[in-house]
Symmetry: C2
Subunit: 339 residues, 2 copies
């Protein structure tokens, strides 16, 4: 059934039936606005708010990603932004722009993906909006969370001498995009490489627990999530902190699937990992004496990849042979034509 | 200049330069998320959250409404939702879906309209997102506010015997839509009728102060804003409150421009006022003894239009000749083809 056959009010009732809630939701969906109880906030807590939209044809492709994966990612990228501030996610609002011919089953799947990820982190869907559009399906999510005031981490705060660290591995999402291209040279890659690349691209896992733990550790000085690509996002951190950075090429945690895909296509593996984007790992800086503590907070799931340096020397990469290269903080521009 | 020539980061810098802020914004635009200080909240306050999108071709037409009016309305409809809960507006996040060929000057105008209305109510723009789209321009706003817990008003809470009241007048926005149609029978209408109808349609004024005052009065039992049309919205209130309602036809505050336009086109004036939608007035119910107090709170700018009755008899209209008609709570369905 098409959504315009179902109608707005029946659709909203269908999407919002039996939504998981939280004790601090005084009033959820169904009124002019949601009412949210702050009495569980510690006296020194800050409210954390972010929004991000996923648009068909630009951020996802129906038929490539499943509806569940699309819903998952629309929420995941927002939870990742909250995690990057060190915040605990609490509540989300979902605004949908819907082509009238969209199948209700597709939207059911999107909501199943949203609900599943929300439930994993005890996040409540408390509000939203549906509107028709003559354009592509768009899922715009606003996420709200909380963080103790003295633990909130921003992009500013990094100092020369701080260690640069990143969780997880880089480049698998970009490898997933390349695999979609269907180049024949990729046919020989094993299925597990394809599956992992695809999963990272269409179903990223936000670093919610890691973000909270790092913020609470007291040794992290600045943090953001890697959405535009490590180089671009490190550039943002350096600009906000007024520092430069020097990375150690041998330390960059290139994902094995990025290595496999770049190898098959004759691309520069390191470049794929540094500029690929959409990794949704956390990039953070740590006091010079904080390495062990930071590693302990994430169960070893992070690596030191360089150091912040005095302002004025930009981003530089030190290779194992001692060579140093100036890097350009290129990354994803959401308005320019796709690469 | 087209926005894709300017690029994402330059555009964001342009839109967010010198944004008005508030003391309780610990960190505004420019990081992964905004940090908002709750220390000004009274201990018993609730956070109020809502979102609503305006889409080109559906909610507004470039060339009919000015960019400033489009920005104004995108925020106004959200402030209206907060007002309907009795909340004070504080912070907003703006998510933009932008056709790549959109002119930067148009977007400057949209932001000027947003900023101007935000400044009037001391609302801070604290976050947002820009994304390209192959579809129409869309402006998705999430608004956050606060309300004392014991003053929050919902659609539920109305009881049989309560008075039904509405602020302002009804039907002018719908008259504005009809005037756009360009029917020759409307050519004779005076300019002031056209100007007022157009202004109400493209630049509605949210009832922010009235919403707060009514919530604080203690005599209001339920409230919502008139966005789908008085009948549809009264239907929502009755459903949520489990009551019926009887309206007094002679008391409906039909806007003079609705009368003029309906008269010229041979339409039913009352129907235009009751079903037109987008009035953004407040529809509320008041304890039987609360009429004077409610009127005083809004400086006389409201009218009693009927009463809530026991559940089971739906919506009824009493005419001056004693006749009673059953009404159908028809209103705007955002997914069905436009009327």
């Amino acid at each position: 059934m098409r959504i315009d056959e179902l109608g707005e009010f029946a659709l909203i009732a269908r999407l919002t039936a039996g939504l998981p809630t939280r004790e601090d939701v005084a009033l959820g969906v169904g009124d002019d606005a949601a009412l949210l109880d702050l009495s569980g906030f510690a006296a020194d807590s800050l409210l954390v708010a972010t929004c991000d939209a996923q648009v068909e044809g630009l951020h996802f492709t129906l038929g490539v990603a499943s509806p569940e994966e699309i819903g998952h990612k629309a929420l995941a990228v927002n939870l990742s932004d909250l995690a990057a501030m060190g915040a605990e996610p609490l509540w989300v609002l979902i605004s949908l722009l819907l082509p009238r011919a969209l199948d209700v089953a597709t939207l059911d799947g999107v909501y199943a993906g949203l609900r599943s990820l929300a439930a994993r982190y005890s996040v409540a869907l408390v509000g939203g909006n549906v509107s028709a559009t003559d354009g592509p399906l768009a899922i715009d999510v606003t996420a709200l969370g909380r963080v103790p005031r003295d633990q909130a981490l921003t992009r500013a705060g990094g100092k020369a001498g701080d260690l640069v660290m990143v969780t997880g591995t880089l480049g698998a999402a970009a490898a997933g995009v390349l695999l979609q291209g269907g180049d024949a040279r990729l046919d020989a890659l094993p299925d597990e490489t394809r599956v992992r690349a695809r999963a990272t691209q269409v179903s990223p896992q936000p670093r919610v627990a890691e973000g909270r733990a790092l913020a609470a550790s007291g040794v992290v000085t600045a943090m953001l999530d890697v959405s535009d690509g490590l180089m671009a996002d490190l550039g943002h951190l350096c600009a906000a902190s007024d520092v430069s950075a020097e990375l150690d090429a041998g330390a960059i945690p290139v994902d094995p699937v990025a290595q496999a895909v770049a190898g098959a296509l004759g691309l520069d593996t390191l470049q794929l990992a540094l500029e690929g984007g959409e990794d949704y790992e956390l990039l953070f800086t740590v006091r010079p004496d904080g390495l062990e503590r930071a590693l302990a907070e994430v169960g070893g799931g992070a690596r030191m990849i360089g150091r912040l340096t005095e302002p004025g020397s930009g981003l530089r990469m030190r290779f194992e042979d001692g060579r140093i290269e100036e890097l350009v903080a290129r990354g994803w521009d959401h308005l320019r034509p796709q690469r």
